[in-house]
């Protein structure tokens, strides 16, 4: 493969990794809503 072929391949791989990182991070940052069947020890009520 000519040199610019390798450059394009590297750029595509980097782009895919960046998109994956952003998707995973957005999912992680969305947060959840945890419903406890029993109150935790920290809840004094």
């Amino acid at each position: 493969m000519v040199w610019w072929g390798w450059v394009i391949l590297a750029l595509v791989i980097i782009a895919v990794l960046v998109v994956l990182a952003v998707v995973i991070q957005r999912k992680r940052r969305r947060g959840g809503v945890i419903g406890l069947s029993k109150p935790g020890r920290g809840d004094s009520r």
Binding site: G31, V33, I34, L36, G40, R41, G42, D43, S44
Partner: protein
Amino acid sequence: MTTPIPMLLLRASELAGRPVVTLSGELVAEIKDVVFERSGGRIAGFTLRNPGLFSRSRKDSLPWPGVHGVGRDAVMVSDETVLTAATELAPREQARHADVLQDRVLTDNGRDLGRVVDVVLHSGTSLDVVGYEVEASEALGTAGRHVFIPLPDTVAVSGENLIVPAAAAEFVSEDLAGFGAAVGAFRARLREGAS
């Protein structure tokens, strides 16, 4: 006749990412998850993460008694000493499979109302879970649309399905603005039925 007090409602997802700030102005953390008690629907507290884009979860949490106030832009605490270990608020084995998002909502007579996409909270002297925002199923006649389902004062559910009284399907609301009235009417109906 007394005029019903308007309910101050917010989605649980609106709290995620909200900064936790001490009364002296120090940024402590950001809200990660909202933790509530399934029996009673009261908010037990919040799990936390460090501020920043690629931040990690924190090993401490904010129990509800430590919250000074929940504002539009920040959750206020008196100081960092109110934080406790995350495992005290939500033991790891309980929290692992206890996220209600994407859980199915079933009525007590077996109708599938849809999947939970968010949880609706009532902000007053305490923060209580008053309903679910669901992606409606065929049973509601608005399949695929997001609607709000009211919850009774005390919800007792466990497992992967969230059980609501069958009457909840009659009080489904399509917007959050009208949902407070629907919750009030639904709970009044349940009280009438019980007396």
